[in-house]
């Protein structure tokens, strides 16, 4: 299989979804963040001048515009760049898009995709480092996808663009340079299918987005200590493939959940609760969370690393549940 960089796979997917469906329109141009490759997006913008729009700094306005366009038959993909900026659009995302299908009794579809870069990006400080996926999971009606590899970003983005529901596409700038195999064929990845990214028998490590890669790296190091961690990536939180998660939990009977949301009411809390309910008799040790500590994100590098779900915190947690 060919090998692509994550940003290449993502860019390819953007081109493919535009080519495949003329209802797809893009709003905003920071799909590659501030990475050195961001200029490549211009190719797409020039290829589809009528279907790539650059809105003013009006997240509430342009996200709502995209939702309305989706209701009227388009399939907009909106780039909000930094995830924290989705807060500006909160009423449209959480109280218009999420509710549309339900409160219309199944009449109005809002097939819009909101693209955000979440998490600790290195120096983003308190206002630019959010991971809003937990808050969004608390708003029923939104699908939430979080790729963690070149193959997944392409495959999930295609499915997002084809979904009939509002979808939050949660990306991470730390993934952009990663290399990995990417199939040539369509290879859309269905929502609600978790992937065991590494098999192991001693402990289940559940993570999403960039932290899947961190967990894989940590798992390799732990293997040298004789600990075999199974790394499971849900890939989408809504819908959630709880079955695959539990299959792993039943095998290893020990769980560490790694998550970049702030800890309280974060994604790890929900996963831990569900596993605690279903796996009460199976777990040998308490479920451990490794999440961003409950403090605003500090700017200074050491502090940022300290409060985030670092490799050392992950491996300590694994050792604690295995030991």
């Amino acid at each position: 299989m060919r090998e692509l960089a994550y940003y290449e796979a993502k860019l390819e997917a953007l081109g493919e979804i535009l080519a495949a469906d003329e209802r797809v329109h893009l709003f905003g141009g920071s799909f590659l963040g501030l990475s050195p490759h961001r200029g490549l997006f211009q190719k797409i913008a020039l290829a589809y001048p009528e279907r790539v729009a650059f809105p003013p700094i009006s997240e509430l306005g342009f996200c709502g515009l995209a939702v309305g366009a989706a209701m009227a038959g388009l399939r907009p993909v909106v780039d909000l760049s930094t995830a924290s900026f989705i807060f500006e659009a909160w009423p449209q995302v959480v109280n218009e898009a999420a509710n549309a299908f339900y409160m219309s009794g199944g009449q109005t579809r809002a097939p819009v995709v909101f693209h955000i870069f979440h998490g600790l990006r290195g120096g983003g400080a308190a206002q630019h480092s959010h991971s809003p996926q937990a808050m969004l999971w608390n708003a029923p009606g939104l699908e939430i996808a979080l790729p963690s590899s070149p193959r997944d970003v392409r495959g999930l983005l295609k499915t997002a663009a084809r979904s009939d529901n509002p979808t939050i596409f949660v990306d991470h700038v730390q993934l952009l340079e990663m290399l990995g195999p990417v199939p040539e064929d369509d290879a859309a990845i269905p929502f609600g299918v978790a992937e065991v990214k590494r098999a192991g028998s001693d402990v289940t490590l559940i993570a999403t987005s960039y932290l899947v890669q961190r967990c894989l790296a940590v798992a390799e190091r732990l293997a040298r200590e004789g600990i075999q961690a199974e790394v499971v990536d849900p890939r989408t939180l809504v819908p959630l493939d709880f079955h695959t998660l539990m299959a792993s939990v039943e095998k290893t009977r020990r769980v560490v959940i790694v998550d970049e949301c702030h800890q309280s009411c974060g994604v790890a809390a929900e996963l831990a609760t569900r596993i605690g309910e279903a796996g009460f008799d199976k777990l040998k040790t308490p479920i451990r969370r490794v999440a961003t500590l409950d403090v605003p994100v500090p700017y200074s590098q050491r502090l940022e690393e300290f409060i985030g779900p670092s490799d050392s915190r992950i491996s300590e947690a694994v050792r604690a549940v295995v030991g």
Partner: protein
């Protein structure tokens, strides 16, 4: 003034204005009987605006409305029985009872979302206009909202987008704040805006904007049809402020009918309590329209009574239909989260 339309259209406008009026008055009765819960908002006093404006729309056009939507839905062609069933939370409601008064929408009529979040539909309506423009099918998006919505930042953000991208959207602001009952202690406006006249705000964004007497069906019809034809020609968004006088029945937080509407009130408001007589004499858009129809000899008093009778029958049927409709099954609560 009367809209410049053939008699049958005038009769249709009359019919819809009376339909809205009787529908809303019946609804208040149903609420007072405890047949539905929650806060709700009626359209009495604004009928000339909604009916005349929406009579200008084409079949494929989009329409977005707010918490004060009943009149707009009926004007656009909603079946009163299904609308009422929705408001009563019944299975045969347009949204299976899941939307209620705040959220009834009817996608088959181009009504895509009815949002009770003040200004929520303003961005949505620009989006439908964006889609219409992208498809080049000549559709227009009409956004009906209250004066209060201009206080939300969503409004100016959307005006900017609509203006920059020349989107085919009509912003129709219904200012029912004139002499109205305010939210603030002793305030006289439902809105609290330094940008006054309200048209100053869209104008700052280079959106042509005008004020029109919202009690005057002819004036509304003329302004809206002119605006829509310019929008359809690709001239970009427009803004109309229709000014109406707040119905005295909305003085408390829950509506109360001061006098049940009879067409005879058009000539004699003697039966109305003195306190509200002025409104019925001068500000009731349905009665104004009736007087004009008769004075301009378009329609006889008898014809009006006939229309009124038919409409009352239709509303009675709607009430019957809605009350007979069962409540939704419990499983319905779990459906329609995702398409």
């Amino acid at each position: 003034m009367l809209p410049k339309l053939p008699k049958e259209n005038l009769l249709e406008i009359l019919r819809k204005m009376l339909l809205i009026r009787h529908f809303e008055e019946s609804l208040i009765g149903l609420f007072d009987k405890g047949l539905f819960r929650g806060h709700y908002h009626v359209y009495i006093g604004q009928e000339a605006t909604g009916v005349a404006a929406l009579s200008c729309l084409g079949g494929g056009d989009y329409m977005f409305t707010t918490h004060r939507n009943h009149g707009h839905l009926l004007a656009r062609g909603a079946e009163p029985g299904r609308l009422l069933a929705e408001i009563l939370g019944r299975k045969d409601g347009y949204n299976k009872g899941k939307g209620g008064s705040f959220h009834t929408n009817i996608s088959s009529l181009g009504i895509l979302q009815t949002s009770a979040v003040v200004a929520g539909i303003i961005p949505l309506s620009t989006g439908a206009a964006y889609a219409a423009k992208a498809r080049k099918a000549g559709q227009v998006s009409v956004c009906l909202f209250g004066d209060g919505a201009l206080e939300e930042g969503a409004a100016p953000e959307s005006f900017n987008l609509a203006s920059l991208w020349k989107l085919p959207v009509l912003f129709l602001c219904e200012n029912n704040g004139k002499y109205g009952v305010g939210r603030a202690v002793a305030a006289a406006q439902s809105s609290t805006m330094a940008a006054y006249p309200l048209t100053d705000l869209p104008k700052a964004y280079k959106i042509p904007a005008e004020q029109v007497d919202g009690l005057d069906a002819g004036a509304v019809h003329a302004a809206v049809s002119e605006a829509l034809s310019r929008i359809r020609r690709g001239e970009g968004p427009r803004f109309i402020e229709a000014q109406t006088v707040r119905w005295p029945g909305s003085e408390s937080n829950w509506p109360v009918v001061p006098v049940p509407t009879e067409v005879a009130l058009a000539w004699d408001v003697g039966t109305a309590p003195e306190k509200v007589r002025g409104w019925y004499r001068e500000c009731d858009p349905a009665l104004i329209f009736i007087r004009e129809l008769v004075e301009e000899k378009q329609v006889t008093r008898e014809e009006i009574s006939q229309v009124d009778k038919n409409v009352r029958g239709q509303v009675a049927q709607a009430v019957d239909f809605a009350l007979k409709s069962p409540y939704p099954d419990l499983e319905e609560a779990l459906k329609d989260v995702f398409a």
